[in-house]
């Protein structure tokens, strides 16, 4: 038997110390993080804008849908206008 029980006890004490050391460092890291970056309630979702400045993604969608629609109804894209996309 290569390993003795006393060695095992030594290793165990050491390892538990290391574990507590590492996790205590982690606790302080988390506490520092939480203090530095406090929780802020997420803002209420903004009301849908009806003005020209719709979000850029919707611009894409309008462009894509317009082009498809144009292809489908056989009109040039500037002969009609999509006013609003309503997601359900």
């Amino acid at each position: 038997m290569e390993a003795s029980v006393s060695a095992a006890v030594n290793v165990s004490m050491l390892a538990m110390s290391v574990i507590f050391t590492v996790l205590i460092i982690l606790i302080f890291t988390i506490k520092a993080l939480v203090k530095l970056i406090p929780y802020e309630a997420p803002p209420a979702p903004p009301a849908r804008k009806v003005s020209a400045s719709s979000p850029p993604e919707q611009d894409d969608q309008v462009a894509a849908i317009t082009a498809s629609l144009a292809a489908h109804i056989g009109k040039r894209p500037d002969e009609f206008r999509i006013v609003n996309i309503q997601s359900r």
Binding site: S4, L14, M16, I24, I30, K31, L33
Partner: protein, 411 residues
Amino acid sequence: MEFSFSSSTQKIVNSTAFTTLESGDALMIGIACLLVYLAIWKKFEPLLLLPMGFGCLLANVPMSMMASTDTGGLLNFFYQGIKHEVLPPIIFMGVGALTDFGPLLANPTVLLLGAAAQIGVYMTLIGAVFLGFNMQEASAIGIIGGADGPTSIFLASKLAPHLLAPIAVAAYSYMSLVPLIQPPIMRLLTTKEERKIKMEQLKPISQTVKIIFPVAVTIVCCLMLPGVTPLLGMFMLGNMFRESGVTARLHETAETHLINIVTIFLALAVGSSMTAESFLRLETLKIIALGLLAFAFATAGGVIFGRIMCKVSGGKVNPLIGSAGVSAVPMAARVSQKVGSEEDSSNFLLMHAMGPNVAGVIGSAVAAGVFLSLFGDVGSSIDTHAALAPVIGNPEAGIQALATVVEVIKQ
């Protein structure tokens, strides 16, 4: 070659497994069926134990070439993924993608419970050494008390590959038995009043903190214990996929089909290492016994430290959440909830127990890291990998540095 009817018949008869089936094989097939039974009808971690049992069944059909040691066989191929430590980290990435560190971040001191529960690992280590295992073997057995399958498999494949099968079976079986093992210990070590303690509600945590946390853990823990980087780093990467909010595709894949695929291969491979030769030994019984010890002491360690935290905090901590520090996510946290609500049905400990529960995962990974720092040796890993990449560069400068230091100390 002659193919007369009689000679061919002879050949077929001789090639049936019956001619070479030994009692050991038959017994292992029985054990395989037992695992499958436990997985399906007793719901013992079925995602692991069902394919593991089936892998054991296939491996023990003589001449099937399905044992982990059958070079060229299918399950030997999957087994390479364990041997080279590829599969457990990928599973851990998926587990990270499934883990919510919110409760831990809201109450970080519960990390101490995740540390305290590791006492189970070390009591088992001492017990294993006492029973005649060497230090590496004892470490791999001890980590059963960490109650984390991939961590156990990862460490066993590094420190004691010949004990992989019984360690994996013990780890997953006892994990399933947590609802039976823990409650009596929890009731024994706490008073009725302590069990009734209601904890303050957790404060919400900024998403930014949740995103930075995995990076912080990786830097802090991996710099201190580099050996555990494959496991802990991938765990934290999975969590980044989850919390970052910009990698929904990767998050979804990591927590569903990727972890599922790897689980199938890993469990089959572990099962394929359950041959009569490696499993039907006295050591297996010892490991099964030590595993129970590990879970019991881990639970006790968590609960006792919970009582200390209860005292120190002036009664704000319910010691029942300590038992969740063994990990076995989310089973152990549910047990805390259940035992708590037995005393007072309006006591909701589940969320509070999730903190120590995930802390236990980090705790066992750190414990594995300590073992790797002490006993880790990459020799075998390099040997096997040599086949995959012949241009072996400098074999791990760090380990060499370490070896040099050890030499110096010896002198």
